[in-house]
């Protein structure tokens, strides 16, 4: 529709998605800051048990109250930020890398490699995501490391599909044809020209995937396959705090708000990036 002169006449708003990016970015940076420096600034051991002071409501000594074992909730939430941010990153990155490599190879080279990899994709997607993650974690045993293994085994599929589709489109793009015509080596074209362009939807998807990973982690905690105690992971804090909700409203509320705000940060950044990069989800 560029023929019309309408869309070109409109000065393209380069600031598209900026509000989302700035709010989402600030949320994430704030959490990153809190995760890195929070625990040492506060200086309270998140695993310090005080059996005399269990389930105390927020007050001067414990700003966000204490939990069922008398541990300081604020200290646990701050330490939990490390776990949850790490979880989002480690839960997203390996599947992303595997998926990108598989998808690129599959989409750009095609042929029998593509056929085999896509059958693998078909097999993997036939399993419902959460059930497969639960099954794998159940098999390997609970804990963060096995959770990441499960995510890597299951999560790559979405990335591979996304990037394969992009690869198929880009393969026909004129600037890629041009690069081939100029005699660049295939792998150079793949990594220098195809990949950067194919990564925009991946970046957008990864942000919302981070939220899914956090939720999956929390759900695993709920069915008893979460992180090893006493690791202060937010989802497990919520799940473990469940039985005590009637005794103290603060126990699940604060980790819940922490998780929601980090999730909000990721989703806003995802939206913002989508707007900025012109990615359709």
């Amino acid at each position: 529709m560029s023929h019309l002169g309408l869309s070109t006449a409109v000065p393209r708003a380069r600031s598209r998605g900026s509000i989302e990016i700035s709010i989402g970015g600030s949320l994430l940076s704030a959490w990153l800051f809190l995760a890195i420096f929070g625990p040492s600034i506060l200086g309270v051991d998140p695993n310090q048990i005080d059996l005399v002071a269990i389930l105390q409501p927020p007050h001067a000594d414990h700003w966000l109250g204490t939990d069922q074992l008398g541990r300081d909730a604020l200290a646990r939430i701050l330490m939990g930020a490390r776990i949850d941010i790490l979880m989002s990153v480690l839960g997203v990155l390996p599947p992303l890398i595997i998926g990108v490599v598989v998808g690129l190879v599959s989409g750009y080279f095609g042929g029998w490699i593509d056929s085999i990899l896509m059958r693998l994709v078909d097999i993997t997607v036939a399993f419902p995501f959460l059930v497969l993650v639960i099954a794998i974690v159940g098999m390997l045993g609970p804990g963060l490391d096995n959770f990441f293994v499960a995510l890597a085994l299951v999560g790559w599929v979405s990335y591979a599909r996304l990037i394969r589709a992009r690869g198929l489109v880009l393969r026909e793009a004129e600037f890629i044809q041009a690069a081939r015509g100029l005699g660049y080596p295939p792998l150079y074209i793949l990594f220098r020209h195809v990949m950067p362009k194919a990564l925009s939807p991946i970046a957008v998807y990864a942000m919302s995937d981070a939220v899914m990973v956090m939720l999956a982690g929390a759900s695993l905690g709920f069915v008893g396959l979460g992180v090893q105690p006493p690791t202060p992971e937010w989802g497990v804090m919520i799940a473990d705090g469940q039985p005590f909700v009637t005794m103290g409203w603060w126990i699940c509320l604060f980790p819940g708000m922490a998780a929601a705000s980090l999730g909000l940060g990721f989703l806003l950044l995802s939206d913002g990036l989508a707007g900025r990069l012109g990615v359709r989800k």
Partner: protein, 312 residues
């Protein structure tokens, strides 16, 4: 044109995938640590007893023999016997499946209208306060853990207000609707935001499509264009997402099923995993795979019906 041969061919193409699935689950379960017999016999069984039962169940055979016998039984329609319950796996699965299917359908019945309405409202007021509110609610819906929401809904709507039962499945259609309302609602709260985000974006994209201008040039009213042109075109990508989501729902209702004590496929799966009930895990996996295949096939069929460009 008749689509029967096409569907048949699709099924044939899926055979290697199905075989792959059985191999993957078989290995996944077999190579993992933990002894199912121990769980089956309880705390105080002796080692001799455990060994005897293992031998009886054929767990001492080489892996490939175990797989072959499993695959052979499958071909005869025999999914084997639950190690834990000593009941045919097929009976166990068929016994709980209707509940999960009912729940999944219920979720869809709640979610699809909500998705369409919310997306349409959001897209038509893109950038305005209504849109922002829907968006914020979506984000909240997506970030709240389902089990947390489930327990809160049960406490508030179920216990405090006494509007809905907080557990079980009920007897009879109306009773099912009543019992499964909260589980379905809890799931929808998570599902709808995902679909809304997708459909809203899709509608906004279609609203800028050339044929919309062309339709306006024909003098068609905006509302007609929206309903007759923009919406059907927008639904296609969301339909594909929905297909993925249904497959997810059928198995992924685990958490909700546990919170609301709805004995369904998800709960059976978790129990089977925790108890290492190999045969049940394998049977369920096969069912999930079949379910996914059927859903994907249906989505494809609906797509060809909506969009003549799509070929099977």
């Amino acid at each position: 044109m008749s689509r029967i041969p096409a569907i048949g061919l699709r099924l044939v193409q899926l055979l290697p995938v199905l075989i792959g699935i059985t191999i993957v689950t078989f290995l996944l379960v077999k190579l993992s640590p933990g002894d199912p017999v121990r769980l089956m016999l309880g705390d105080r069984a002796t080692e001799e007893t455990v060994a005897a039962v293992r031998a009886q169940l054929g767990f001492d055979l080489p892996l490939w023999k175990q797989y072959l016998s499993y695959a052979g039984n499958l071909l005869q329609g025999d999914l084997g016997q639950s190690i834990r319950y000593r009941l045919p796996v097929l009976d166990l699965i068929l016994g709980v499946m209707p509940r999960t299917l009912f729940l999944a359908t219920y979720v869809l019945v709640l979610s699809i209208p909500a998705t369409v309405i919310l997306s349409v409202v959001a897209a038509r007021h893109a950038g305005k306060p209504v849109d922002q509110i829907i968006r914020i609610l979506s984000v909240i819906g997506m970030t709240i853990p389902v089990f947390w929401l489930g327990i809160m809904l049960a406490r508030f709507l179920g216990v405090e207000l006494g509007l809905f039962p907080v557990s079980g499945y009920g007897d009879g259609f109306i009773d099912h609707l009543h019992h499964l309302f909260l589980p379905a609602l809890s799931t929808s709260v998570w599902l709808v935001p995902m679909l809304v985000r997708n459909l809203r974006a899709s509608i906004l994209e279609q609203m800028e499509a050339d044929y919309v201008v062309a339709s306006r040039a024909k003098g068609l009213p905006a509302r007609y264009i929206f309903g007759r042109h923009i919406l059907p075109n927008s639904l296609l990508p969301t339909l594909n997402l929905l297909g993925v989501m249904i497959a997810f729902l059928i198995g992924g209702s685990v958490i909700v099923e546990i919170v609301y004590a709805v004995p369904g496929l998800g709960g059976l799966m978790i129990e089977a995993v925790l108890a290492r009930d190999y045969t049940v895990i394998q049977g369920l996996t096969l069912f999930y795979a079949l379910g996914t295949v059927i859903v994907t096939l249906s989505v494809d069929l609906i797509s060809t019906w909506i969009d003549p460009r799509v070929q099977l």
